[in-house]
Symmetry: C2
Subunit: 156 residues, 2 copies
Amino acid sequence: MTQGAKHGLPTTLGVGEVARRSGVAVSTLHFYETKGLIRSERTVGNQRRYARAVLRRVSFIRVAQRVGISLADIATALAALPPGEAPSRRDWTRLSAQWRAELDERMAQLKKLRDTLDDCIGCGCLSIDRCRLRNPGDRLASEGAGPRRLLVKQRP
Amino acid sequence: MTQGAKHGLPTTLGVGEVARRSGVAVSTLHFYETKGLIRSERTVGNQRRYARAVLRRVSFIRVAQRVGISLADIATALAALPPGEAPSRRDWTRLSAQWRAELDERMAQLKKLRDTLDDCIGCGCLSIDRCRLRNPGDRLASEGAGPRRLLVKQRP
DNA sequence: CTAGGACCTCAAGCTAACTTGAGGTCAAGA
DNA sequence: TCTTGACCTCAAGTTAGCTTGAGGTCCTAG
């Protein structure tokens, strides 16, 4: 074990420790660091030391990715927070508000996708085009591009 | 317009028409076809003709992608349906059941992500590690890999 | 003091999901 | 008939998000 974690909690974590605890590869942590998603201090011997908060940050990144948010967007959001410690209440409120909208939108899409499936059981509208979700007469064709029935909002 | 769509509805659509209506590029439709996500008939002149149902299929693909599902997974799901027309009730039930689980899981993750943000307003736990979501004493460290607080379920 | 596991950097490689480009065909109006 | 725009194929290029490998350093137990 790297730095005396035998008794009590170490104040910082080595890269291997973070990898093990967060479930991502060491190379991924390096990669995230180059992208500015996380950051570290260095020991005299040039080894990375992470604040414990990095674990939560990594969790956040992974979960956000999982629901389809790009690292670039995640980075932008996280950049709103001071990289070191203690974000202000204002920082949090801003980040939360931004993401609220994004997440709510994705939730709506997921819900729609799921409900579509539910509605279609026993109907087969996806391929036979005949159920209550059907687009009658294809009237929407002139309303611009994009999947209009399922899509809640397309990004620019 | 390609095939007499002036009056009434054409029974099939050209690739450009599908692109315009679905909001994806022609090249993307070609690509999806090579991946087996959609399929087409050909005219004597070797041009693609799509059944109208392809529009719904493309919508489905895009929305599923948007919430983080890979084309491979989408292909697998869609492969459960007969490529041509009229899936049976059994087909639909199977597809729906599979996706229900997947979608519910992602919904749960999104919700958790969103709620975490909500809870953290004015607290800053993401980086100062001090709020009701805090991981006390880091006790979870030995429970295996992965972000345990936010993550609902990791894929293998 | 020395072995070996944990770290370091940097460059190159890989997969998914498309896009772009070259070179050629099809089809419908002037 | 000629032309023009929609279409075709196939190969190569692009971006995101990592992983792998080579070659070298750090540090802790024995």
